[in-house]
């Protein structure tokens, strides 16, 4: 269980203070909606460790994550764009899932197959379409296999059909791997795939 309890944060020099409380079960997708600037990205930054909270707790299965540096956290992220290093091949992008060891070729291939990109490993990332890039990035999340998955509007740059297929794929993988998943989006079509939904308003999360 991923739990946030009264996790408070304020951007330096700004008055507004955010406070977040929520919980996500393994294999569950929690959808977060809210207008632009409501603090959706701030919430993900707090969980990923890119910003430091003022107070409150953030735990995974009872273990606090607050003191951990971003690279120590059990978190994988899928951004809206720039999930791949454009100048590297897909294979090398995937290898980065094991920065300190070697990634066997068959593991790489099977992850690409799982996201429907079999055979594209040697292509340079910049030559892929937007949907293919997101799939490749998802393949890397599979290889990383970290317990928490943060989805930061990962479908909003895709066309309708591609986005549908992608959502289905994510749903399948989350259930299979039991990832604690947070999906941030302002699009109804995205939020429809979540198990539960919260709405961000006035710096607080509301049910609904």
């Amino acid at each position: 269980m991923l739990e946030l309890d009264g996790l408070r944060f304020a951007h330096p020099g700004q008055d507004r203070q955010y406070a977040f409380s929520l919980s996500v079960a393994p294999g569950e997708i929690l959808g977060i909606s809210g207008a632009s600037g409501a603090g959706k990205s701030t919430l993900l930054d707090l969980i990923a460790g890119f910003v430091t909270p003022l107070s409150g707790s953030l735990t995974l299965d009872g273990q606090s994550l607050v003191g951990l540096a971003p690279e120590q956290r059990p978190v994988a992220i899928l951004f809206q764009a720039d999930n791949l290093f454009d100048h590297l091949s897909i294979d090398r992008n995937l290898s980065l899932a094991r920065p300190h060891g070697r990634l066997p070729q068959d593991e790489r291939d099977s992850s690409l197959e799982a996201v429907g990109l079999a055979g594209l490993g040697r292509r340079r990332a910049s030559t892929l379409s937007g949907g293919q890039k997101q799939r490749a990035a998802l393949a890397r999340c599979l290889l990383l296999d970290r317990p928490v998955l943060l989805l930061d509007e990962p479908f909003s740059a895709l066309d309708v059909d591609t986005a549908d297929a992608m959502r289905e794929l994510v749903r399948k993988l989350v259930s299979a791997r039991n990832w604690h998943t947070l999906l941030v989006s302002h699009q109804e079509s995205d939020l429809a795939m979540s198990d539960r939904r919260l709405h961000l308003e006035a710096e607080r999360l509301q049910t609904g």
Binding site: P12, A48, G49, F50, T52, G67, A69, P70, E71, Q72, V75, A76, I77, F79, D82, N83, F85, H87, L88, S89, R92, L96, A97, P99, H100, R124, L144
Partner: protein
Amino acid sequence: MLSRSAVQRLVPGGLVAAGGGTLLVTLLVLIAVSAAGGDSGRMPDIARILYVSSIQAGLSTIFSLIFGVAIAWAFNRLSFPGRNLSVGFLSAALVTPGLVVAFGLISVWGRAGWVNTLLAPFGLAVPPVFGLFGIVYAHIILDATFAAALLLPRLDGLAATRLRLGRSLNLTPWLRFRTLDWPALRPALPGLAAIIFLLSFTSFPIVLTLGGGPANQTLEVAIYAAVRLDFDLGAAVRLALVQLAISAVLIIPATALSLVPPAGGGTRALPWPEPRGVARLAGLILIAAGLFLGLPLVAVIVGGTGFGEVLGQQSFWNATATSLIVGIGAALAALVAGLAVASARSAARNPIAGFALSAPAYVYLAMPSVTLSLGFFLGAHRLGLNTGTIGFWVLIIAGALLALPYAVSTLTPALTGIEGRYGRLATSLRLSPLQRWRLIAWPLIGREIGLVLAMGFCFSLGDLGVISLFGSENLSTLSSAMNRALGAYRTDDAAAISALMLILSIAVFVALPRIFERLSRAGT
């Protein structure tokens, strides 16, 4: 909280910044301590020097920016064979030794120069190029070309989407400049103005050679006189502090300057030809720039065609070898230090930390090279090092320090851009600093690396200040060989050496950024 990788990048940069700052203070203290007792108490009329050099530097800055924008605009609008070479020529001008520029200018516009020789049959003559006019003119040759070289990539790198939008709106040439080009240029102008003002404000050989008399002076000249003529080291330190204090105000905007635009364009996105009349204007601007700014440099190269005799001298080849080694050493040192500071700045989240990291590097923009040389000399002497032989290393370190501000302002925006785009991804993937460098930075900043190496190399190539105390029979560089030849009636030798130095600078500026761009891309 700070990620481990941020810490790993902040520490080396912080060390370089602290080291640079400590070194500067140490050098000044060394001179001040040696000055104890031998103080003549005589100070030149600082108010007058400041007044004179502010006017000169102000005019140089204004005109350099106007011409720089015009030249960059004209280059952006035109395509012609030799464009790349001409752009390389632009960048090389900044690092040409001042004395060489002054002589080139006189070859063209002097009393017996090319222009007057052409005009003589018609009974016409151009006015003399000495005095305020000559100084400002020579500074424009150096700085307008520098500004143009720096602004051009901003125009060439404009996003295709913006050009498409502009073209679909059928913007007039003036509106196109105002709505598309100007916003891309404007952010660079305050920093550029600060650097050009500093360069002109501390100018030395140009002011002395073309100044016409003692009325035109800079603090740098006064410092030189205090050291050489009066041997008043106390006055030298006080004057250097005045120069540093005044420059500190200018360093604040200068640290914000990116020498290379953040969005690493380099190819022009979308051809959009101007109407014929405007294209002609652009052509005219380039011809005028070639005539007024390029020709003096061409004259330097033409003047050196009699290099046959120089090539036969063993001492020339020794000087060439020393210059090459020192230049390469200085270039590498500037690159390493520049990378450390720039990557720390890309990891630093608040602007004050960023400023603290780069300010020590930028102070070297205002550090008089006589003071630098003197401080190193005294330091080496106190440590019991043989000043004759340590000179080799001092040349490398000093060359690197003088190029460091340019290295930082070239690398910082590139690394900051990469950090903005890929920083979180790299952190969440737990990449080590080495992996970050090998996989993300190196493949994307090859061109900037080449540019920094070229600048470091050329700054040390053109140095005349540091070598003045450390030169010896065993240690002579191309610029000291040029000076030595000038001091013994051998003007042809000197002309040949300066021509070769200029050709070398241009070659390096054209070649290195390209070579490194290829090298870095080849790895991916």
